[in-house]
Amino acid sequence: MSMQTDDRYNTLEKSMKKLSYEKNALIEVLHSAQETFGYLGIDTLKYIAKRLKLPYSKVYGVATFYNYFRLKPKGRHNVVVCLGTACYIKGSDKILEKIEQRYGIKAGETTSDEALSILTARCFGSCSLAPVIVCDDVIKPKTTLESSTLEIEEMIK
């Protein structure tokens, strides 16, 4: 599909226009691009560089500096394990380990059938519910080794 016919590029173009193609709105543009595409692919980053008249190295540098931006596509479902202090103290590192083993991939990776990505986060601000995992944007409070995999099975089935 060419960029001109891909609707998502129209959406991105509109959001850049709204920000008046300001160079200093780069992070806002990256946010809306990630929202539109689900991740920031190299083509998308190059396109943004061209439209904002910024060097590609700058756009790439900013996109890779911040943890929130993903340069690889996510699976159809995703589980985010919180590794913030409150969750860590309650054993979230062990939960992550178990999930990684169960699906045979590491945090940041996607299963080969693209069904599931495992991600990690620093804190959702839901620390009184620790340890939390987030299944497709739904917070699962007070998870255990057992409940975490059950939640994931439920999500991807």
């Binding site: 300001e22 160079k23 200093n24 709105a25 780069l26 992070i27 806002e28 990256l30 946010h31 540098g61 900013v62 500096f65 911040y66 943890n67 929130y68 931006f69 590794l83 913030g84 202090t85 409150a86 969750c87 860590y88 103290i89 309650k90 986060a121 620093r122 804190c123 959702f124 601000g125 839901s126 620390c127 009184s128 620790a130």
Partner: protein, 452 residues
């Protein structure tokens, strides 16, 4: 449009009558010790008002302080009141807010900025999230008063992207306040203009640091820079800038309403007012608690927090996040204020309090924080970039019980080196969790040294 105190009062009265007709249920939990030991200023509206409705905020006295400042006070008098209150920054540094405002107010410039730091980087803390989501107008009111006091007409709120609901509530609040003319041009016919915009963070802990945050708003990687120049001279886009934490700003409206002396009378000699803490970890009652400064750790953990869960034994409490330290049991009668925590080898930080029971190993906890700093180091300066990596590897040796005696000396030496030679607060404080656990739990390190 609301253009005078009288109109604001009228709207408040009307809404109050409406509320009386449809009273909202107030949770009966408020009479348990968890609540009765608290003193709520920052969180006074939490759960009581509808954050989506500006009229509800106004019915609870909202925006009265802003109108009072605009109607009755000069910018200098506002700053004087904040100085009298002795309010100190709640973002971690504890710098007196009045002095910060004063230095910006004295700089001559056509353009100045107020920035609200809503990055809440300490993983395990969620005070600022609660304020932004539960009482967003309070933040806007604090910012507008700061703008009036310092001569700034533009504000930014830097919110972490992991808080989408906070962003939504703040956006709605800004729209509603703008519609009523409480933000915008010539507010209450005073000639004062003030607008607020939101900027999203993108998941970098270092962006909570003042100069990195500004780099991020300007669309760059969040690399801190050397200070001076300070933000008061050279902040956002090179202009004089005040940066305050969410909770700091949430204290402003009550201070203007009740007076600086009222605030000064709460808390301790050097730390006035209350502090919101996020109680988490191995503790029965988790959640946000707001108490006067000077409350002891024992009261916080046992009276309010209900003690350690499942009858296990208390071991330590961690305060100050990745820049803080662990405080052992024999210091539980310590009063919580900036100086006391510092003297115990920790810091107030933003207010995360994590209770740790006997099942945890302190070296592993120190490693957890070090690894966090390692992965969040921006990489600009060598002591922090390389030092935090080396320190993580060293701590691993202790955890695997493969360390030598000289590793222990090296660990301490390297901690002090990273502390004293790093460029910004991240590196300067990264060794704190290690140093404080060595201080109080040295035997757990010694247990990691192999005997040969």
């Amino acid at each position: 449009m609301i253009t005078s105190t009288a109109e604001l009062q009228e709207l408040a009265n009307k809404k109050r009558e409406e509320n009386e007709k449809n009273p909202r249920e107030i949770s009966s939990e408020r009479s348990t010790p968890f609540y009765t030991k608290q003193r709520r200023i920052v969180l006074e509206n939490e759960g009581l008002i509808d954050p989506d409705d500006i009229e509800d905020y106004i019915a609870h006295g909202g925006y009265m302080s802003l109108f009072k400042a605009l109607d009755e006070m000069t910018p200098k008098e506002v700053i004087e009141e904040v100085k009298i209150s002795a309010l100190r920054g709640r973002g971690g540094g504890g710098y007196p807010t009045g002095l910060k405002w004063e230095s910006v107010s004295k700089v001559q410039s056509l353009q100045k900025y107020i920035i609200c730091n809503g990055d809440e980087g300490d993983p395990g803390a969620f005070m600022d999230r609660a304020v932004m989501e539960g009482d967003p107008h309070r933040v806007l009111e604090g910012m507008a008063i700061a703008g009036y006091a310092c001569g700034a007409n533009k504000g930014y709120i830097y919110v972490r992207a992991e808080y989408p609901i906070a962003v939504e509530k703040l956006n709605r609040a800004i729209k509603q306040a703008t519609r009523l003319g409480i933000l915008g041009e010539n507010i209450a016919h005073s000639g004062f203009n003030f607008t607020v915009e939101i900027r999203l963070g993108a998941g970098a802990f270092v962006c909570g640091e003042a100069t990195a945050l500004i780099a991020s708003i300007e669309g760059n990687r969040g690399h801190p820079r050397q200070k001076p120049p300070h933000l008061s001279d050279h902040g956002l886009w090179g202009q004089p800038t005040v940066l305050n934490n969410v909770e700091t700003l949430a204290n402003i409206a009550p201070i203007i309403k009740n007076g600086g002396a009222w605030f000064r009378a709460i808390g301790t000699e050097n730390s006035s007012g209350t502090k919101v803490f996020a109680l988490t970890g191995h503790i029965k009652n988790t959640g946000l608690v707001e108490v006067p400064m000077g409350t002891t750790l024992r009261e916080l953990i046992f009276d309010i927090g209900g003690g350690v869960e499942e009858g296990r034994k208390f071991k330590a409490i961690q305060s100050g996040g990745p820049s803080g330290g662990c405080i052992p049991e024999h210091l539980l009668d310590l009063q919580v204020d900036y100086e006391s925590l510092k003297s115990a080898g920790s810091i107030m930080g933003s207010g995360g309090l994590i209770v740790i029971d006997e099942s945890s190993n302190m070296v592993e906890i120190a490693r957890f924080f070090m690894d966090f700093c390692r992965s969040e180091s921006c990489g600009k300066c060598t002591p922090c970039r390389v030092g935090t990596t080396e320190l993580t590897l060293l701590l691993d040796k202790f955890i695997k019980k493969e360390a030598t005696k000289s590793d222990f000396e090296l660990l301490k030496e390297m901690c002090n080196m990273v502390k004293s030679t790093s460029l910004c607060g991240l590196g300067q404080t990264a060794p704190n969790p290690v140093l404080s656990t060595i201080k109080y739990f040295e035997d757990e390190y010694l247990a990691g040294i192999k005997n040969d």
